[in-house]
Amino acid sequence: MFFSCDKIEPPYMNVTDVSDCPVPDFPDVTTPEKTILIEEFTGHLCVYCPTGTDYVHQIKNQSYGNRVIVLAIHASGLSDPEPGNYSLDLRLIPHGEELYSYFAIPAEPRAGFNREKIDGTNNFYGTPSTWQAKAEQVLAQAPVMTLQIINNYDSATRKLCAHIKTKFLAPNTQNLKIALFLSEDSIVGYQKNNNNAVGTMPDIVDYVFMDVMRDDFTGTFGEVLTSGSVAQDSAVIRTYKKILDPGFNAKHCKVVAYVYDADTDVVLQAAEEKVY
């Protein structure tokens, strides 16, 4: 027992060898547009959540094109799998709980819009009644950077190379972090519901879960992108690699990336791209 210490020497993090992921050429972005990351906290035992998700999809399906990126985070006790019909486990542990706890989410459904505070509150995350106005407000902002993703996927080995490029449209002095997650669409399972306008009550037996946060590339809170001054037009290109979990349907998976201010948590730009 008295020798039970594991002193870890640097490097503390495993640097993934991405030499087998050649970096592609990124096309120029001719018309930069502000994008929005909607982090939707939900759970299959949450009776109000189908209504919340419906609101999110209504926002996404408006004429914003690819400017709305959704990450559905299944966290808290309302996402716990239970024996029987609710055995599906859509949690990403510990990432979902860490975000839920870090942002002090009081209950589901809650959604954040680029982690900007809901007007008149100190909360990043609001109830559905605040969502539409917040989305419009964020999307009206001018972009400060572009963010692109190019994925290369080998279906034989399930190796996914995700390349990202950020380009600054103006000088920047913020401490920025980048976070990458893998999301999956079209997962079918049971969902509690108390709104017959969106499905059967009290259970929707074939509910289709979309944008589910399934895996990560960078840890819950991402990794440092820049710290200190960055000149206008400077760019950062990074490559990430992952072998997809056999439980995921690669055809329904997307890589979601976002850049945020490490001091304020506000997301500056987000992007998503299908695995293939």
Binding site: M1, S4, D6, K7, I8, M13, E98, N122, G228
Partner: protein, 555 residues
Amino acid sequence: MNHKHTFFFAIIICFIFSIGQGHAQGLEKLLRNSQVSGNFQFDGMYYNKDSLIGAPDVPQKVLMNAFANINYTNGPFSAGFRFENYLYALQGFDPRYKGIGIPYRYASFEKDKFTITIGNSYDQFGSGLVYRAWQDASLGYDNSLDGINIKVNPWKGITLKGVWGQQRFYFDKGPGIVRGGDAEFVINDMFKKLNDKPLRVSIGGSFVSKYQDADDPVFNLPKNVAAYGGRGSISYKGFMINGEYAHKINDPSTVNNRIYKSGNATLLQLTYAQKGLGLYLAAIRTDNMSFKSDRDAEGNDLNINYIPSLAKQTTYSLPSIYTYGTQPNGEFGMQAQGIYTFKKKSVLGGKYGTNISLTYSRYNAINKKQVDDDTPIDSTGTLGYKSDYFKIGKEAYYENFNFEFSKKFNKTFKLIVDYFYIMYNAKVIEGHEQPNIHSHTVVVDMTFNINEKHSLRTELQHMYAKQGEGSWAYAMVEYTIAPKWFFSVSDMYNYGNSISEKRLHYYSVATAFAIGSTRISLNYGRQRAGIFCVGGVCRYVPAANGLTLSISSSF
């Protein structure tokens, strides 16, 4: 049959076997020496939705927490268990307290200077900086260790302890294994010549290691993390000084944002006491000292150690709004307290004496600097930061100045007057983005003993604050008919809230009835959202409106 039931089955078999093997005299002796004791507590609440105070609609309408401890002792042998029932847990308690079970059970015997406990145990090494297993039902806190606990006194004045097990995690166990040992030497007790000397010295040391498997594709994680510490205490007549230092090796965790810096904590306490006078001076510095048996745990889950709080605690409602919660990632705290009792029959002491006390406590951040020019402080996967041990961080977390005057004027009237100044950094303590709160509170607590059975107590409190929720007023009247009845009415009024819709009354009406050791109480009213802390450990209490029934009993 799961392991919990196997454990009890084995105890019952041993019990029956011992009876079967014995004769009538043995059985009589066994029964004569047997003692069974226990206690029961039930708290149930019917919730009303109250959107004004932010009390949510509770789908189950009524929630409850209940537990019962049953203990059996027979000479050197003891065994017991605690039954717990949360269907579902009261608002403000972690929802993972869900269901019915026996998460705490133990058997223990003393033999040949050894005390051996199997099952769950509570214990503490020194002041708890490296190990403390404890329980507080009001906090929903229980980190008992399920395993073995051995204590031995090989020589007078020497106490050796060893623990090995897994921590309780709601109705389950944490994933990590905790192993530890402690040795304490009371020098004066060890040597007969020193037994009666006024100078008393003791020293001690602890070592605790946790093991948790690690299979992380990104982080190189330590599977074994150790913490160790040393302590000493010297007392001479009315003086006593004691200190403890603890160190923890790299322990990247969710709490510290997965940094690899080692941690440390220092606690120093100085006391002086003589008749009528007590002085206390203490300081604590903690640096990255969260120590949990699961690196992914958060909040109060699976703490192996305990960081003592030096902030003044009070039971009065208004100053309790702003109570300090310890910050294991780093804090520098101190407390200075003086208590003086004016002698009976002196000018200021009067017939029954007069007590006054002054207490000042303050907490600041520790000094943190970047490990290099390119790495922001607390960056994941780095050493996190550098800290100058003797430099105090600029950010103030908490400050409390308290003056208390307490006097019994005659057989029927007692008066306590308190003043509190509290500075509260809500951003650090509660995670709310808001300016520091500066509050001034005056409390007048009067007790009128009408006769031997009837007494009336009132509390009048006023808090002045510009920040946070602004100013409050509070009044309470309590009428007791000893030994059975108790009635109270109170109201907390947030009249100074800057948002006019939030200038609300938090009223409460309560009654209680006692029969022997059984007490039944009913309370109807509103509960303000906030944090509730015991010894620096806190839980969030949401706003609530409803009827609470509590029953407690012991035998």
